[in-house]
């Protein structure tokens, strides 16, 4: 089963904690410029902030275009083999998301390798803008939201053994104004 790192950009506030955590875990330094996930903020106004990170595409343009076969894949995770890489940066411009990064002090390009199956940025994100999910679950949150919206979920509070609980139920008279 392959897992995906998914981004919910509308939740991102641009704090760069993901970048810091990545640079520390990946390169052992405090340097957001050495991070395989970086937040783009769009001018003219920071209405949207989008963390850019490798999506581990099944049809990977970076791998297709690498002239030396330096991009390898294992369990659906792509990484750059520093031995084979000639740093031509073809992968950097091939990636449709710009998710492969360069740094002047690092010889070869680098990209997200999902921290070997435990991406540290996900747990560090204070806004839950990063999700790590099994591939088949992607899109399920949106499906749930659309269903819940359709059935007009309501809540009823009750007390059980002194504890306050909430029961959610679908209001069958959908669309009726709340009383």
């Amino acid at each position: 089963m392959s897992w995906k790192l998914a981004v919910v950009p509308e939740r991102c506030s641009g704090c760069k904690i993901c970048e810091l955590v990545c640079s520390i875990n990946r390169f052992g330094v405090n340097n957001p410029k050495k991070s395989a996930i970086q937040v783009m903020v769009i001018y003219p106004h920071p209405i949207i902030r989008m963390p850019i990170v490798c999506r581990q595409c099944k049809i990977a343009k970076c791998m297709e275009n690498c002239p030396t076969g330096a991009i390898t894949t294992k369990d659906g995770i792509y990484d750059i083999d520093g031995e084979k890489c000639i740093s031509c940066q073809q992968c950097v411009i091939s990636c449709p998301f710009g998710a492969i990064y360069l740094h002047e002090e690092i010889e070869t390009p680098f990209k997200c390798n999902l921290c070997n199956g435990n991406p540290r940025c996900v747990e560090a994100c204070p806004k839950n803008a990063l999700l790590f999910l099994p591939e088949h679950v992607l899109g399920q949150a949106q499906r749930m939201t659309s269903v819940l919206k359709y059935v007009h979920m309501k809540e009823v509070e009750y007390v059980e053994k002194g504890e306050r609980k909430v029961l959610r139920y679908a209001d069958i008279e959908k669309g009726k104004a709340e009383d």
């Binding site: 509308e10 939740r11 506030s13 641009g14 704090c15 760069k16 904690i17 810091l20 955590v21 520390i24 052992g28 330094v29 405090n30 340097n31 957001p32 410029k33 050495k34 783009m40 903020v41 769009i42 001018y43 003219p44 106004h45 920071p46 209405i47 949207i48 902030r49 740094h103 002047e104 002090e105 560090a124 204070p126 806004k127």
Partner: protein
């Protein structure tokens, strides 16, 4: 620097040991190295700024808007690091607004980027021949003339410069037309709406023909023990996330304060005459959430995300988008001038950001004019034909424009409190200000510690040094004056320490973040085991230095009084109706305060103490 010197240092992280000294007269930049004794004593941020200013003042008197004035931009040794809210930078200079020591800290990511460029601070003096911006590429500086930027807005300029340098990722701090026109309360803006707002630093940049500073940095930040920092930080982030108010704070940010202050009866209303605003619900955090907020924004490494991005979707201000409002702006452009339309506040906020004006001062002075018009102290002719009635949105926006461009009445307001008093001496008793800095958005007449905090703040009536109002309201008015003075001094010591380290005070004041953690961060980063008390002592010493600067510039006991109306104008409504501060009581607490600081009855710092700041630790 020779390797041997480096090896001998006991401080093994936190610094690049480099301040970049930029002389705009010659368009030259020289790196200035400093010693570890300097780093240890002054720490960074406003500490570095105050010491460099002190040195500059020894050379002679400084006109704030002359090329001789020095502008220091200094993050701290913790800025840019993996720890909560490490995105603060101090802008320090002799203030054009007050003529004394001035500083204002900016959030966003500018400071973190400056550090990644390999600099501990920037010191800027002189004046560029034509309008220019300073480009710092990984520590290398270049002065780039660009007349195209003339008259351009702050945010617009940020975009132009990013395009000019072909990099969306750089950080740019800019001034708007107000800064260029030397409006004495012009601010500096970065990250599309993060401001170094107070004391008129934007005018200092304007007087130097310096439209902006652009920075790119990619260096590793020096940390002595990264695993130790990481461990301390992870626990810190965790503690913030576990706070029961964490999510609520992310949703509303500082806008949540409005309901609190209004219920407590200390909301600035109608030029600080009242403490309760009858329309508070129309300008509070819930109003923002339900109709205007479209996103959160954070400063560097901050999980609290208190920035609100708001958009007006309908009505005459449709299309207004702004990062804000902060609490201060919502009050100063809301309750303080009788505005009950949230969209109008957003419009004013956007205008001030783009023109580069401090919203606190602007809202304060407009409130003064409104009261003057209402009571007949000024005529409509005096007011340049503007009908400045409470809540008159269009007249307010027009006034803001005139200030930035120094047109008509705007030219008087642009001179700040002192300019207004010079033109209309009769207004002096109705202006809420200390030392020429207009009061920020908390009432002072019911909490004597808040009054003392404003009055003894080293930059004037701003809440950044001491915000004790909540504690005093909680503890009750019968709390001994001794304890209240202690509280003010603790605030004035801890809060400036945050500005020396390069971190934000909000995790501590709003979410109860334990201040002892900063000693752990500092120890991990520098490799010097240091306690919080040791750090606080350095901050307390620095308060003596900023006081010494102010004494040199003519400040004394006579200037350490809260705004006049706290003594003679009771509120008519709310929980504190009828209350005023007693003058004798204030004299007593001021005596106690001086005594606790080790200052004389006239508020003078001991000569021997002052002598300690004449150390040769840095020569400029």
């Amino acid at each position: 620097m020779p390797t041997s010197k480096r090896e001998k240092r006991k401080i093994k992280g936190g610094y690049f040991w480099k301040i970049l000294w930029v002389d705009l007269d010659r368009a030259e930049a020289t790196p200035l190295e400093f010693d570890e004794a300097f780093a240890s004593k002054y720490i960074g941020g406003r500490g570095f700024g105050a010491k460099l200013l002190w040195n500059q003042l020894q050379k002679g008197k400084i006109d704030p808007l002359s090329p001789e004035n020095l502008l220091v931009i200094a993050p701290g040794p913790l800025a840019g690091l993996y720890l909560p809210a490490s995105g603060k930078t101090s802008f320090v200079s002799i203030s054009p607004e007050t003529g004394i020591y001035g500083d204002s800290s900016m959030g966003g990511s500018f400071g973190a980027e400056l550090r990644q460029a390999g600099l501990d601070a920037l010191a800027i003096t002189g004046k560029a021949r034509t309008l220019s911006y300073l480009w710092i590429d990984n520590g290398e500086a270049k002065v780039i003339p660009n007349e195209k930027l003339k008259g351009k807005g702050s945010l617009e300029s940020e975009g132009i410069i990013k395009e000019d340098l072909k990099d969306e990722h750089i950080k740019v701090a800019t001034i708007g037309p107000a800064g260029e026109n030397r409006v004495r309360f012009a601010c500096v803006t970065s990250d599309w709406g993060r401001n170094s707002g107070r004391t008129g630093i934007g005018a200092v940049m304007g007087s130097k023909n310096l439209k902006a500073i652009a920075v790119r940095g990619s260096k590793d930040l020096p940390v002595f023990d990264l695993p130790r920092l990481q461990k301390a930080s992870e626990a810190s982030f965790q503690s913030l996330r576990e706070n029961k108010n964490f999510t609520f704070w992310q949703e509303q940010g500082l806008m949540s304060v409005i309901d609190y202050v209004n219920e407590a009866g200390v909301m600035p209303t109608y030029n600080f005459r009242e403490g309760v605003f009858e329309h508070a619900k129309k300008i509070n955090g819930y109003e923002m959430l339900s109709k205007y907020k479209i996103g959160d924004t954070s400063c560097f490494a901050c999980p609290m995300a208190c920035g609100n991005v708001c958009l007006v979707k309908e009505g005459k201000y449709r299309g207004t988008v702004v990062e804000g409002p902060e609490y201060e702006t919502a009050c100063m452009f809301g309750s303080n001038i009788g505005v009950q339309n949230f969209a109008a506040i957003l419009k004013a906020n956007q205008l001030c950001d783009e023109l580069g004006i401090d919203t606190i001062t602007a809202g304060n002075l407009i409130g003064v004019l409104m009261e003057a018009q209402e009571t007949g102290m000024l005529s409509e002719k005096d007011l340049d034909g503007l009908s400045l009635k409470w809540g008159a949105e269009e007249a307010i926006l027009e006034t803001v424009h005139r200030i930035a461009h120094r047109k008509g009445i705007g030219n008087i307001l642009a001179e700040g409190t002192f300019g207004v008093i010079k033109q209309w001496p009769q207004l002096k008793p109705i202006i809420s200000q200390v030392k020429g800095l207009e009061q920020s958005a908390y009432d002072a007449r019911i909490a004597i510690s808040m009054a003392l905090g404003y009055a003894t703040s080293d930059i004037g009536a701003h809440h950044a040094r001491a915000w004790t109002i909540a504690k005093e309201l909680e503890m009750g008015m019968d709390w001994p004056l001794e304890k209240k003075a202690d509280l003010v001094i603790y605030h004035q010591t801890l809060r400036p320490l945050f500005d020396m380290l390069g971190v934000c005070r909000l995790p501590w004041i709003e979410l109860g973040f334990d201040e002892h953690r900063y000693a752990e961060f500092y120890s991990a980063v520098t490799g010097m085991e240091t306690t919080l008390n040791e750090l606080l002592q350095r901050s307390k010493d620095l308060y003596d230095l900023t006081r010494a600067i102010n004494l040199k510039l003519g400040i004394g006991r006579k200037d350490d009084y809260p705004p006049e109306r706290v003594f003679n104008l009771p509120m008519t409504e709310g929980p504190h109706a009828g209350k005023i501060l007693k003058r004798e009581e204030y004299e007593t607490i001021l005596d106690i305060y001086y005594q606790k600081r080790g200052w004389t009855k006239e508020g003078l710092v001991d000569e021997k103490k002052i002598e300690t700041f004449n150390d040769p630790l840095i020569t400029t």
